[in-house]
Amino acid sequence: MINNILDFEKPIVELEQKIEEMKKLDDNLDIKEEIKTLEEKINHLKKSVYENLTRWQRVQLARHPQRPYTLDYIYNMTEDFVELHGDRLFRDDKAIVGGLAKLGNEKVMIIGHQKGRDTKSNLYRNFGMPNPEGYRKALRLMKMAEKFNIPIITMLDTPGAYPGLEAEERGQAEAIARNLFEMSKMRVPIIVVIIGEGASGGALGIGVGNRVLMLENTWYSVISPESCSSILWRSWEYKEQAAEALKLTAKDLLELKIIDRIIPEPLGGAHKNQEEMAKILKEVLLEELAALKKMKPEKLVEDRIEKFGAMGVYIE
């Protein structure tokens, strides 16, 4: 556990541990007073720490090893999940999961990137980095959803599409391009949620929706801060500066009109309370779904094309 604590989390965790230790002591009145003071101190500390995180610290939270992943949300938010496998062309990509589920009273198709939690499961999930067959599986499931008039929810959490030799052989670029094209014209509602890392085309490859939502401590950009640092600064050492320059947080993207809404996380981040996080997200999704379900298929398509068409800033 202890090695999963981020630098800026340390003072908080230390205080929390101190309280736990003190609580084990006698029911001494002095100690109770002391505990109360400490708890107040923690709350203050937490608020000021989490309100003033740098962009790089948000990136770190987005990658927190305890953070809920797509399947955690599916298990915590939905019922009767039936996972569907394979792209019918090459194989089943474990870095993208998807299937039918019930979200409250709504039938939905949920598709998302899936990371692993330890070395073994990360190898199995390829660290959440899809190959072309992952995008093609996602597209197959979306087309099925469209056929049976089921809304689509996608969850983005990837360090990027896999930059491997076979991925290129099987057309990584074509697979992503095809998804962007096909997702644009789906005749059912699509809601996109960035739940962790939104790294470039690998994230966007399942990210074209009528609504794009971002959890509070996530990032979404054209490149990771590390890669940006290595290319522009020619060194891996400038990731903090790169994160600042890229303006990649939920707040930034709301200002840039790329996302529609920021979903608050429990204090300290989604990993501090997975159930609470899932509950918050479920409510938001149901609310958004209710609004989108009122739109006609043609309008949904039009809305998506216009929505992304409006993104960009230039001088004429």
Partner: protein, 279 residues
């Protein structure tokens, strides 16, 4: 995205740089043959000895592919607003200014209406020499608008891609141009208007992962580097050397991602023939 690193390697630099000081003789990047500029121009900037395709820009493609004086440029003045006020080792504003001055262009793509053997087309050609041909808000918007023009006028669309991918200095806004352009192409498809994508050296990253791969017909120039991830990144990932010819046009043809490889000298007539079939 790797245009900074790639510059140094064996991939051909822009033609302008290779021109020998007196401005009349050029050395072939591939076979070393000394060629006269006029000779090369007549030969569509293809080496007369070894068939090497020199990297050329939008100006040359307009001359090679479109009928003489038929090109009417659109959105000529559009330029980047530097929305993130991006600064790395250099200010993005400075990069833009330098690129504009050096190339005489306002950004990495030019768009307009022209004619191919008398047939009206909507046309776009990218310029690698402008910040690595990277796609930011301007490239995305100009591509989207030329798609609209094709739709309005019911004329075919031709895009010549040449790009290192999405432009880092505009962050997520650059990324969204992939979705913007791909989404817009669905309207063209619905209207049964043909789109021919020409992939030239290099076409990588977000440009390949959007409109460059979405042609009704994808045509590559010989030996062009075409892919999603850059070769350097892939090499790092897999920890071994890449096979010869990996991510080159011939490899993409073999793997099924382009319809054909066409010599630049025959490109115009091939497009013309295809448009004859497709309408």
């Amino acid at each position: 995205m790797g245009w900074f690193n790639r510059k140094k390697k064996h991939i051909a630099p822009t033609t302008k740089k290779t021109v020998i000081p007196d401005g009349q003789w050029v050395k072939c990047d591939d076979c070393g043959e000394l060629l006269h500029v006029k000779q090369l121009e007549v030969n569509s900037w293809v080496c007369l000895k070894c068939n090497h395709h020199f990297r050329i820009g939008s100006e040359e493609y307009i001359k090679i592919l479109l009928d003489e004086n038929s090109f009417k440029e659109t959105e000529k003045k559009m330029r980047s607003a530097n929305p993130l006020e991006f600064v790395d080792t250099k200010d993005y504003n400075e990069r833009l200014k330098t690129s504009m001055k050096k190339t005489g262009l306002n950004d990495a793509v030019r768009t307009g209406i022209g004619k191919i053997n008398g047939k009206k087309v909507a046309f776009a050609a990218m310029d690698f020499k402008f910040i690595g041909g990277s796609m930011g808000s301007v490239v995305g918007e100009k591509i989207a608008r030329i798609i609209d023009k094709a739709l309005e006028n019911k004329i075919p669309l031709i895009i010549v891609s040449q790009s290192g991918g999405a432009r880092m200095m505009e962050g997520a806004l650059s990324l969204m141009q992939l979705a913007k352009t791909s989404a817009r192409l669905t309207r063209l498809a619905d209207a049964h208007i043909p789109y021919i994508s020409i992939l030239t050296d290099p076409t990588t990253g977000g440009t390949t992962a959007s409109y460059a791969m979405l042609g009704d017909i994808n045509i590559a120039e010989p030996k062009a580097l075409i892919g999603f991830a850059g070769p350097r990144v892939i090499k790092q990932t897999i920890g071994r050397d890449l096979p010869k010819g990996f991510q080159r046009s011939e490899f993409l043809l073999e793997k099924g991602f382009v319809d054909m490889i066409v010599n630049r000298k025959e490109l115009k007539d091939k497009i013309s023939l295809l448009l004859d079939f497709l309408g």
